[in-house]
Symmetry: C2
Subunit: 204 residues, 2 copies
C-alpha cells in the first residue's frame, strides 16, 4: 500500500552463519534485495552498468566517498567495491526492502544516515559454540581462532544498539526469525502512515 | 531462553474479522494463549476453578475492580466477566504470550498498566469495505450499520497509539502478519536482555 521499503542492516561476527541465513532467506522473499554495488573494476562481458554494478572510475569513486555518497566500501585486488547511498534510496523508494551486510561500526554509521533503518544482529548460541564452529572448519590456525573469538566478543558489545537479535542455533529457525522480522517491521505503525490514510479514505 | 512472555493486546472495530483471525492464529501457535478469565457465574459441571475460569463471588469481583486488579470486565446476564491482572502476569511469567482482545479505550488503559505490552490494531481495507461487510451480513438494520461505521471511524483514530497495524483484506495474509508480529516482537533487542547475557556467558 504505497509504503516505502525498509533498509535492513544485518551484522554478525564471523562464523555465525550470516551468509547461509541470508542465502536461504532470499529463497523465501521477493520483496527484498541487495542494493546494486559500485566498483572501479572493469565490466566483464555481459555485465551491464547499473544492473550488475555501477561501474565507476577510481576518481569518481573517491569523489563519492568524499561527498558521503558511499555508505561502505572496501578495497580488494586494487579495486574499490562499495554501496552507494543512492542505490539504497532507489531500492527503498521503489517499495522494495534493501539488505546491507555490514560490520558493527559500519552499521552504526548507516543508522546515522538512515535513521529509519532496521538493524538486525545475528548471534551465535554462545561464544563457546562459535569457537567450536571456527575450530570445526579445520581451516583456521589456533591463533586465528582466538583472534576471531576475541573479535566476536567485542562485536557482541554492539548488539545492544540493534533493533533485533537473532540467535543462529538452528538454521531454519533463524531464517524464519529473519523472515518474520522483515514482515513485522513493515507492519509497525510508524511505517504505516499511508496505510492508515488509505483506510480512512483520506487519499482522495 | 528464559525470556518472559509478552502481553499482546488486539483491537479492531466490529466487522474487521478479529475473531476469525485469532481463531486461525491459535491453530498455528503453541506459545500464546488467553489469560484465564474471572467470572461471578456459578461453575458448570466439570469446570475447574483456575483452569476454565477463576470463579469469584460478586463481592470479591467488585473488590478486585476497586483495587485495580481487574484489567477489563463486562456484565452479561447479571454476571461479571473479566481479566485479572494476576492471570496475565502468571501467563507471561511462565514464558507464554498472553492475548487480550479489548476495545480501544481499554487498550490504552492496559498500556499504562503494562508498559511492555504490544498493541496490535486490525483494520478493514477501507471504511467502505467495512460498511459493505456489515451490510453483507444481512443481520443489521440500516441504522445499526451507520452507527457501527461511525463507531469504527472513531476507533480508527486510536490506531496511531498502537505498535502494529494489520489490514484484514485477505484472511491468510492477516493471520501470517499476526504470526510474524508475535515472532518478531519477541526478537526485539529490548526484550532479549537474557539472550544476550546467555550468549556472552554472563549467566555463570
Amino acid at each position: 500500500m504505497e509504503n516505502k521499503g525498509v533498509l535492513f542492516v544485518i551484522s554478525a561476527p564471523a562464523g555465525c552463519g550470516k551468509d547461509t541465513i541470508l542465502n536461504e532467506f532470499f529463497l523465501h522473499t521477493n520483496t527484498a534485495g541487495y542494493a546494486v554495488s559500485a566498483t572501479t573494476r572493469k565490466p566483464r562481458e555481459g555485465e551491464i552498468n547499473g544492473v550488475h554494478y555501477h561501474f565507476l572510475t577510481v576518481e569518481d569513486f573517491k569523489a563519492k566517498i568524499q561527498c558521503g555518497e558511499v555508505l561502505e566500501y572496501t578495497e580488494y585486488c586494487g579495486n574499490y567495491y562499495g554501496t552507494l547511498k543512492k542505490s539504497v534510496n532507489d531500492l527503498i523508494n521503489s517499495g522494495k526492502d534493501a539488505v546491507l551486510k555490514i560490520e558493527v561500526e559500519g552499521a552504526m554509521n548507516i543508522r546515522k544516515q538512515f535513521p529509519d533503518s532496521c538493524l538486525v544482529f545475528i548471534l551465535p548460541p554462545s561464544l563457546e559454540v562459535l569457537e567450536q564452529r571456527l575450530r570445526g572448519r579445520g581451516t583456521e590456525t589456533e591463533e586465528k581462532i582466538i583472534e576471531r573469538t576475541t573479535q566476536a566478543k567485542n562485536e557482541l558489545k554492539f548488539a545492544e544498539n540493534y533493533d533485533y537479535l537473532i540467535v543462529n542455533d538452528d538454521l531454519k529457525t533463524a531464517v524464519d526469525d529473519l523472515l518474520s522480522v522483515f514482515r513485522a517491521e513493515k507492519l509497525r505503525r510508524t511505517r504505516c502512515g499511508e496505510v492508515l490514510k488509505n483506510v480512512m479514505g483520506e487519499k482522495n
